[in-house]
Symmetry: C2
């Protein structure tokens, strides 16, 4: 793992590392393509907004179309025609949230259930109620079939409402599974022409002692990178930032740190400031589906009457396709009419906003101006704590 | 109107004419953007498939966002950022179909009703049940506000199940309205810097005598072009082709002929063979929403199990973005998962298929090979008469 730190500003750092499909410069925001498609965008549009790496999801792709099919088609990169790096999540988060919380399966009364054992997790598909069993080893095998550049250890993301006692159990299980993930990954990687990188995941809820214990343990297993999971799941922003403060000092300086599932402008600043290098979130594309977008002042909703005759782009001086070509007035019309083009234009803008913001943060670190840049940004930008 | 015929093959012809936003080469297939957006495509994607002209709809844009708003925004071209020609339908067809057949307005028991008088048509919006009144003069005023290069006379498209007696009445009303449309258009055009072209519309159902009478009458009013309306509304293919045989000899050779709302490969061949120059249809984008696409063998549905591991493009040697970049296997996955990217990839392919087919037909006319080209095409292509 050739993680090269270029510059530091206190705990924030700019860096780069190499994957099988090219270099990634950090800090970086990674668009999410859960079902092997970043919602509404084609790969050329992702290239246009300078997406360096995209995410996809093991749980979803395992269920449909199946990892074996994707392997047969030459792996995820070839199948979706994306030539740059891909990261796959292990499926843990989805098994514990989607499968558990899903509504009864369509046309049946079957409700998904999750049975957690030391060996692995039995769950019912949220699609058809069929039974499946994931182990750390199996999660690695699936991710090796998919062939992403960066893959994730199988972990248990405990429900935020669990007791501390349960969080301890879940963390210990996560640690065991981390080791088993690593062993299976090493075995599979040694047989592969193109090696994949494996990241471990720190858990521990919002308990300082557990987070520190988990960070130390995961760090000791010597993964290619370290991720922080189980945040942005209902706790307050302050609690999340505090957990980062506890965790990050125990994660190697020499490896990328990935904060999972987080992606609002304020969270990106706060996380990078504390030493995070990579972030992902479905938020920018989900916001688009609600008609929402960011500009330098904060978050707005394009459906607002005030944009009806607004000839301006979504954001002044924005480099994205949507802003270079279309007005708020037209995009508002598209969204109100339910036209798919409107969703695409907002998705492009919101993703570009976070990617460019992260690039600017990177530059500010390189120029020793992170603190000023952050201050100036939030002079204008109205924070909104509830998504 | 400088309509220049380049070549003829019996009744089929290749030609060109100039509009305020550039030249149109015919025969041409025109993508439909009912609500000011060709479903799922942005303008760069329309340029990539060589769309020469796109359609939009007076009825829809009048209701939302309103023609006055679009005029205030600088007209339709500027508002949607499309630099090539646009054609707007008059709203007649929609008033008589959408408004009449619409389900009760959401959350109310109001059902749209249409009252047809000599002066014009009262109808209730299919959106909110609000009352509106269209006259030929008003339809012209709206279309002059929108500012399309080609606009359409206001006509009555009678229900296919009407009696011949009613078709006679509707035709006579259409003829009166055609004249009133022309007078109002001439008045408005004389005040405009950028003149718009007005096309008249032939009606008459599937009655030979009415179609001939209507063709002669509309032709005598000296519009910039002549359109044939009220076909592809439930009659058989044979009836439609027969009506074209009756109508076309009475429409000036020196002007473009536009067959409205028609767009399957076989209809395009049959219409151009009879002397039609322009066609439009929502069919290629609607097909995409059903998962359907064309290749050289005919129509297929991407959801079919047989495409699961198919690494081929939708169609061999196809020039479109979807075929140059993605496999049937991946597009099938996207459609099955409800991913919007799948809709876009199929829409691009289907529109490109018809546009390229029409371009090839044009070349075959220029090279004196239309009959051979048609024969060869249908040697492979399986006709399907029911959409």
């Amino acid at each position: 793992m050739n993680f090269k730190i270029e510059n530091k500003f206190e705990n924030a750092r700019s860096a780069s590392f190499t994957t099988a499909h090219g270099e990634i410069k950090t800090p970086t925001f990674m668009p999410v393509g859960t079902r092997a498609s970043v919602k509404t965008l084609s790969f050329n549009e992702l290239n246009d907004i300078n997406a360096q790496i995209i995410l996809s999801n093991t749980y979803h792709l395992y269920l449909r179309p199946g990892n074996k099919l994707i392997k047969e088609m030459g792996g995820l990169h070839k199948w979706i025609n994306w030539k740059k790096p891909i990261l796959t999540d292990s499926g843990g988060f989805q098994v514990f949230s989607l499968a558990k919380n899903s509504r009864p399966i369509k046309n049946t009364s079957i409700k998904s259930e999750v049975k957690i054992e030391e060996n692995g997790v039995e769950f019912k598909s949220h699609l058809d109620g069929s039974k499946h069993y994931f182990t750390p080893e199996f999660a690695m095998q699936i991710q090796h079939d998919l062939g992403a550049d960066i893959i994730m250890a199988f972990d248990e993301c405990a429900d935020a409402k669990s007791t501390k006692e349960y969080f301890i159990k879940a963390m210990e299980r996560t640690h065991n599974w981390a080791l088993r993930s690593k062993l299976e990954h090493d075995r599979l990687n040694s047989k592969q022409e193109t090696p994949q990188l494996l990241f471990g995941i720190v858990q521990g809820g919002i308990f300082k002692d557990l987070r520190i214990e988990s960070a130390k343990h995961i760090n000791s297993l010597n993964f290619d990178g370290n991720a922080i999971g189980g945040l942005s799941v209902g706790e307050s922003k302050e609690e999340m930032y505090e957990m980062l403060d506890h965790v990050i000092p125990h994660l190697s300086e020499e490896k990328p740190r990935y904060l999972m599932g987080v992606g609002t402008p304020e969270d990106i600043f706060e996380a990078i400031e504390r030493g995070v290098d990579m972030l992902d979130c479905v938020h920018p594309t989900r916001m688009a589906r609600h008609g929402a977008f960011w500009d330098k002042l904060g978050r707005h909703n394009i459906k607002n009457e005030k944009f009806k005759k607004d000839e301006n782009p979504l954001m002044e001086n924005c480099s994205c396709f949507s802003c270079k070509n279309h007005s708020r007035s037209y995009i508002r019309h598209l969204i109100l009419e339910g036209e798919i083009l409107g969703l695409k234009l907002l998705s492009i803008h919101n993703l570009n906003f976070l990617i460019k913001l992260t690039e600017e943060i990177c530059s500010s670190i390189n120029e020793g101006k992170f603190a000023t840049f952050k201050k100036n940004f939030f002079n204008n930008f109205e924070k909104w704590l509830h998504i």
